[in-house]
Symmetry: D2
């Protein structure tokens, strides 16, 4: 039978929202090695605006962006394989750490740790 | 100290990812009362493609869309106040039910129930 | 020196807006062969809401979607290489036809014809 | 009967693509007065990556963002009424200037000048 969600479950739900938001807001953004820095900062600061989001770190990998560039157009489109992301969510005393990185050739969002 | 996430916590994380994805993928889409039906179906089927997502129901509210229309342009942009969403996530035997609806004048994503 | 834009130039500007809107609104959407139909319809109807946009046709290519699927996740993310798009814009008596399709391995948005 | 597009028409089409791209890529981004600066820079640098785009200036209006904030959530979602944008496109010797600002209560994208 259904249970009232615990604070730890709520914290994990909030962590997931932030990850889905970050990914689907910014996927497709035109990016080149010259613009990774401003995009990393904007993505982190945008998602840190959301409630319970203590810190976001975005690393867009210049070498993968360079490899992904459409040379006639001169840029790549941001996608999960071009970046690594870490986030810390705090919800009513529970801290959740999450991470997105490549695994088996695909980007994966992972729940790293839940600390009560 | 950090604990290994439980299946229920993983299920809540997955539920959050789906909600953030749906919202930030489709927010801003041009919508009118004539196009709410196709957008509801596409949003539900798109997010149901994601792993562990059993069902998604999207209700874009025609009367609120009609009120939000920019009459010179002839359409509104989809935002949280124009829709209600319900989702069911299944992860390793845990079912999570979530819902987005208006509360106190703002759209809120809620974890409704976690069933082991 | 600057000239006041002609109706044909305005029509081309409007055509470009529709193409950029369609692409960046929907790029990144989770898609599988089972959901291409609903997404095609929703994309076309969404952009047809915009002013001066007479018709939009979106063809998401099932075989390319099937090839692009991340088999652990079970879906692909919509991008330009998975679809072909045609649009007709009418502005004050000028008709503009545009098309996006692959050329030299990359998706290209093209102004096909301007008819006064 | 259809004519081959002129360079000025191509330039206007390119200008429209950039405007639609900027708007629909970034609409919905969580924003607060503390994060307008990084978002303005990232939006401009992202779109400047696109071909023929010489300069983009984005001004997100802190006072309008402050008024739009959902005080329980602590942020607003970026939309056209919260920003002003200017762009310059160069295509084969034609320069196009465009601008988005509020008019009659709604944000409007305008072709300001076409200079051969």
């Amino acid at each position: 039978m259904p249970d009232i969600p615990t604070d730890a479950q709520q914290a994990c739900f909030e962590a997931g929202i932030k990850f889905g938001s970050l990914y689907h807001q910014f996927a497709g953004t035109p990016v080149s090695p010259a613009s990774t820095g401003s995009l990393e900062t904007a993505m982190a600061e945008a998602i840190e605006n959301q409630p319970h989001c203590e810190s976001v770190s975005v690393d867009i990998l210049d070498d993968r962006v360079a490899d992904a560039i459409d040379h006639e157009e001169g840029y790549a489109e941001l996608t999960g394989s071009l970046m690594e992301v870490e986030m810390r969510i705090d919800y009513e005393g529970t801290t959740v750490r999450t991470r997105m990185a490549m695994a088996d050739g695909y980007p994966r969002m992972r729940l790293v740790a839940v600390e009560a």
